[in-house]
Symmetry: C2
Subunit: 157 residues, 2 copies
């Protein structure tokens, strides 16, 4: 059966890497639900997309597309940090996970985080880390994470 | 006056970028005070050093050398993450800060963190972040940081 606009099942959602065309599928509007992302021109988007592409598998942005509406409804990123500690180990850093308000409760966030964590593991990382608010702690525990340390921040602007 | 082995003043400590020769100046032994870093061969060190050099200014490892003993007594790293959020903003991630037990209390840690934060700011980051234990929170507050979120981790090995 072909998917159509009324499809609500799991097959209606495609988990994949970010593509440049996703800017026109609501990707930046989705990020706007996370924090400020309100004035990225097509040129700026393309430039940043190309910069990130240079990292290859070391920086991955996952998206979930709602096939019936061609909208990006969930995203998250992971980059691989190369260290000297842990005998030249690698760590995956998960960032900027967000699920569209209209599709929350459908386990799409868990899919994104699983996709990113699997990628970090396949890249040889000994661990994957992320920072979250207390409100989101329970969600990440369901994704297999445990609380470890405190995140500290210094803002420049 | 030339520095000598008895020098204890500030001029005895040089803050600079990591150099490949630092492996023989106690760099990996210093990291060992932070966590496991006990079996890095010269070849593995050189390979990782070269890999990190490819990132240019986007990954900086700061060291402080005790000139009189030619020993590395403090280190820390920062890498620059490029994002789409914050209108294609950048974030500095500080990692692996450690000061040799013999030189603690001399503000060398503060120098390392300041060096790394200044670098992140000069690279155009809107913030710099790090994860630390509760025990180290007060130290980072003295460096101008504030507690923000919770760090979550998932280990693969």
């Amino acid at each position: 059966m072909q998917s159509n606009r009324n499809t609500t099942g799991e097959e209606n959602y495609r988990v994949r890497n970010l593509e440049i065309a996703d800017k026109n599928k609501g990707f930046t509007e989705l990020l706007q639900q996370l924090t400020v992302c309100d004035s990225v021109s097509d040129d700026e988007f393309q430039k940043r997309f190309e910069e990130l592409r240079l990292y290859g598998d070391e920086h991955l942005i996952c998206v979930i597309e709602d096939i019936s509406s061609s909208k990006i409804v969930a995203t998250g990123s992971v980059f691989i940090e190369k260290k000297f500690i842990r005998n030249c180990g690698k760590v995956g850093h998960i960032e900027d996970v967000v699920v569209d308000t209209s599709t929350r409760g459908m386990q799409l966030g868990k899919k994104v985080v699983g996709f990113l964590a699997d990628h970090a593991q396949s890249m040889g990382c000994y661990k994957v880390i992320l920072d979250c608010s207390s409100d989101n702690k329970a969600f990440y525990e369901k994704c297999g994470f445990k609380e470890k340390e405190i995140q500290m921040v210094k803002y420049f602007i």
